[in-house]
């Protein structure tokens, strides 16, 4: 009979490096740490190869006969098409500067979650098949054979990376694991290995228009409902035109903003703002999803989903595009969209109809970020606000990885926050956890599924720690962000670690504070919570 384990044996945590070398350590598929395999129907909907029913926990992943050739061929192909890949494979000096920068490593202590080792998982195969030293010396040159265990390991660890680029900021050569992760996921997809959560969203978005798979009429119904909510709370009618040709501006948001909470309150904020300005805009049932889960799984799929933004702008004959608060939508729009479809000569250089400001920084791209748009309005004194209506909120701001390290928006949201919050209600988290060094929510890049909650909570721990710090120190009770995925995943994370803090979009705060001439007296915010001074007997939870 097996000996009963002692408590000491049962305790195995921490940042110890295993005694076995990483090449000899097989990845163990731990429930709670991975996302389920994609159902064949999603793969069929987007013509992905090798649809089949399989399970991550299975021994046999039913790879196609020639999987190895396909993967190697795919690698060669990408080495030729992406200088980044070739370079990042060749020049890493393993200095370790990136090692403890990844939130997954900080949260799990698993050495293969160090960005440098995550990259080595791919690089070791590159060396084995594409470099002479690797062919000759094998393991000693850091090379290893491509086996199905290696494929499993790639799957496990490439889907424990949120493509957040924090590692790249610290690397002396800018080696970007995010880029390699996407390319690695492409290789996995080429032999039929995908995750269900991402693929379901992608397939539905491809087919119907949004990740959630809503029909055009459902979309209209939802935005109308949120407009009615606005009316109920503020007494202001905030119409939301849909598919209206000839509008000046096409407004694109992630579907999370009209289906999910708390994104919906941000959406209500958008509508209030536009009504305040009498903005000539339209939304679209076709470009109903600004978010792009496609890019999480491949460059090509990203492009296939992104097509509809410019397509719809063209069809509706708008002048320019306004984009809502969304992290990865903006990273995709900023890094790839003009390159995919440019030059964009069917749109005009964006000009704010209210202030006359020319958005010269968007003159090729023709799409303006809502934070830029709103900040400009405030700068020109076009918005009358009552910050006291946000007095129940003590805020900290989470820079989303994508808008931070994939675009560089830091100041605009902070500027807006300072306009709509009473003085002394905004607190920054510690310096090395914000701005370009911001910690990821731990659930981005298509892994915000339900079945991998354990790893999500661990990956988000560094972020949660920083939030907890400002919560304990300053009584912060809200965390603001300009990202729909954050609004989806951070409430979950904080419910587990810092349940006293809630999540809010920035435009929601603008919506709370905007003063209309003909509004009814406001006693609640957009979430029906009593404003400061209007609380009944029961105290607002979370406030100091």
């Amino acid at each position: 009979m097996a000996k009963l384990p002692t408590p000491a044996e049962l305790i195995q945590i921490n940042y110890q490096m295993p005694s076995k070398g990483w090449m000899d350590l097989k990845a163990e598929m731990r429930p709670g740490y991975y996302v389920n395999a994609a159902a064949p129907k999603w793969m069929q909907m987007i013509d992905y190869p090798f649809p089949r029913a399989w399970n991550v926990a299975d021994e046999d992943w039913q790879l196609p006969e020639d999987w190895k050739e396909r993967v190697l061929q795919g690698m060669e192909d990408r080495l030729q098409r992406f200088r980044s890949l070739k370079l990042f494979f060749d020049i890493c000096v393993r200095c370790g500067a990136c090692a403890d920068k990844c939130h997954f490593f900080l949260g799990t202590g698993d050495p293969k979650n160090m960005p440098v080792l995550r990259a080595e998982l791919l690089r070791s195969v590159y060396r084995r098949y594409f470099k002479t030293a690797g062919k000759l010396l094998g393991e000693l040159a850091g090379a290893r054979d491509l086996t199905d265990d290696v494929i499993k390991e790639w799957f496990y660890y490439l889907y424990q990376c949120t493509i957040c680029r924090r590692c790249s900021v610290f690397c002396p050569y800018g080696i970007d694991m995010a880029e390699m992760t996407i390319l690695g996921r492409e290789l996995l997809a080429s032999v039929g290995i995908n995750i269900d959560w991402a693929l379901a969203s992608v397939a539905q978005c491809y087919d119907k228009g949004s990740h959630i798979g809503a029909t055009p009429q459902a979309f209209k119904d939802m935005v109308d409902f949120l407009a009615e909510e606005n009316e109920r709370i503020t007494g202001i009618t905030t119409p939301c035109p849909v598919n209206r040709k000839g509008a000046e501006i096409l407004f694109v948001v992630p579907s999370g903003d009209y289906f999910a909470d708390p994104g919906s309150y941000t959406f209500m904020g958008y509508l209030l703002l536009f009504k305040y300005l009498d903005l000539d805009f339209t939304m679209s049932t076709y470009a109903a999803e600004g978010g792009n889960f496609g890019w999480f799984i491949s460059h090509e799929m990203g492009k296939r989903l992104n097509a509809k933004i410019y397509e719809e702008a063209k069809r509706l004959k708008v002048k320019w595009i306004l984009g809502g608060e969304c992290g990865h939508m903006w990273r995709v729009c900023n890094q790839y969209m003009p390159t995919w479809w440019g030059p964009i000569d069917f749109l005009e250089e964006p000009v704010s109809p209210i202030t006359g400001t020319k958005f010269e920084n968007a003159k090729v791209h023709k799409m303006v970020h809502i934070s830029e748009f709103t900040a400009d309005l405030f700068k020109h004194g076009k918005l009358k606000v009552d910050p006291q209506r946000n007095a129940h909120i003590k805020l900290t701001f989470h820079d989303s990885c994508n808008t931070s390290r994939g675009m560089g928006i830091f100041e605009e949201p902070r500027y807006i926050i300072n306009q709509v919050l009473p003085e002394g209600h905004f607190f920054e988290m510690p310096p090395n956890t914000i701005r370009e060094k911001t910690f990821c929510c731990g659930s981005s890049s298509g892994i915000n599924a339900n079945e991998n909650m354990d790893i999500r909570m661990l990956g988000g721990l560094p972020r949660a720690n920083a939030v907890k710090y400002v919560h304990e120190k300053y009584g912060v009770n809200h965390l603001g962000c300009i990202c729909a995925l954050d609004r989806a995943t951070l409430p979950t994370l904080l419910q587990y670690w810092v349940p006293e803090v809630e999540i809010t979009g920035i435009t929601e705060l603008v919506g709370n504070a905007l003063v209309f001439d003909d509004e009814i007296e406001r006693t609640t915010d957009l979430r029906d919570r009593p404003l400061a001074g209007f609380e009944e007997a029961d105290e607002e939870e979370g406030a100091e």
Partner: protein, 344 residues
């Protein structure tokens, strides 16, 4: 043998082996091979390999403009961006060049390095808090090594030239300005070895670094340390005939190789190791030096939205157009009051 031992001991033995080879070679009177043939060969391999690699990188396309944007992007004119912001998120190629210069001359990104540490909480002394604190030792060590190495190389020019250019002499003078020993001690040589020892030590003693390190990481370190040590030994302890060395070096440089007699074998060991370094360079991670110039996350401006980047292999993809949606939901859309293209 475990992973670490294999990856550490093999390069160690290799470097010792190389030293032995040179000793034995010189003892067997192969001065010509070690003093002329191998150096030429090494230089040839170095340049060929370097150029080949650089061209292969330069040739591979850059499909997307993906700089890591490490500061506020240029947006509205009144959004303040200081000098640092402009360098960390360059708005055009000039600023991008500035960013590159800072990366190459000052290791900007490494300077950001943080480490997670515990600090005593100011307000609650019994409590400590976890912070991601700035950590500059790696930056300092790397910078010290690279600059010392650079200056050591430049100082070597004095062997290969006749007359010695003014600036080389000046450099050597500055380098040796603290005179506490005869012959003059060049600070950089010592500094280089010390910095390398630090880099080696951290690799061995930091658990996660040791875990990721490969033979290819130890080998160049051990090799250059050996070069440094043989150099230092030669200069201060086992003196060699400098005039003869210079004769050999000038001969090599002017393509009229001569092998003067009477140079100590330690010189040949030093030279041989340098040759190995040169020949090894293009095939190794040392290519990070030219590589960093090509890095697309660093050498491109963050100007995607106002300056179109073209992907040379951009290709059309399959997607559903708007009519696909309308055709499927026309009736419901009409019923919901959504404008449509075709009323049937």
């Amino acid at each position: 043998m475990d992973f670490f031992k294999r990856h550490f001991l093999v390069p160690l033995i290799a470097v010792l082996g190389l030293i032995a080879i040179a000793y034995v070679g010189v003892a067997a009177n192969l001065q010509f091979v070690f003093g002329v043939v191998i150096p030429y060969l090494a230089v040839l391999i170095f340049f060929e390999g370097l150029i080949y690699r650089a061209i292969s990188w330069a040739r591979s396309p850059v499909p997307f403009k993906i700089p890591s944007t490490c500061a506020q992007v240029k947006s509205l004119p009144w959004i303040k961006r200081d000098l640092g912001d402009r360098l960390d998120n360059p708005e055009n190629k000039w600023w991008a060049m500035g960013r590159m210069a800072l990366e190459i001359l000052a290791f900007r990104s490494l300077f950001r390095n943080t480490r997670t540490t515990l600090l005593r909480d100011q307000e609650k002394p019994e409590d400590s808090r976890l912070v991601h604190w700035s950590y500059k030792w790696l930056w300092l060590g790397a910078l010290a090594f690279h600059y010392a190495f650079l200056i050591v190389i430049l100082r070597h020019i004095r062997f290969f030239t006749q007359p010695v250019p003014q600036w080389v002499t000046a450099l050597a003078e500055v380098d040796g300005f603290v005179q506490f020993y005869i012959p003059t001690v060049y600070i950089t040589g010592v500094l280089m070895v010390l910095a390398l020892l630090y880099l080696l030590a951290r690799r061995i003693y930091t658990p996660n670094l040791r875990y990721i390190s490969l033979a290819a990481d130890y080998f160049p370190l051990l090799l250059i340390i050996s070069i440094g040590i043989t150099g230092i030994l030669m200069r201060y302890f086992y003196k060699v005939d400098i005039a003869a060395v210079k004769q050999l070096a000038v001969g090599l440089a002017t393509l009229k190789p001569v092998v003067p007699a009477g140079i100590g074998s330690i010189f040949y060991v030093h030279l041989f190791l340098v040759c190995v370094l040169f020949a090894y360079f293009p095939f190794s991670k040392l290519m990070h030096a030219p590589g960093v110039f090509f890095s697309p996350t660093r050498n491109l401006p963050g100007d995607n939205r106002w300056n179109l980047h073209v992907n040379p292999w951009n290709y059309p993809v399959k997607f559903h157009d708007y009519m696909h949606q309308e055709d499927e939901y026309r009736e419901a859309m009409i019923e919901a009051g959504i404008p449509v293209e075709k009323e049937k």
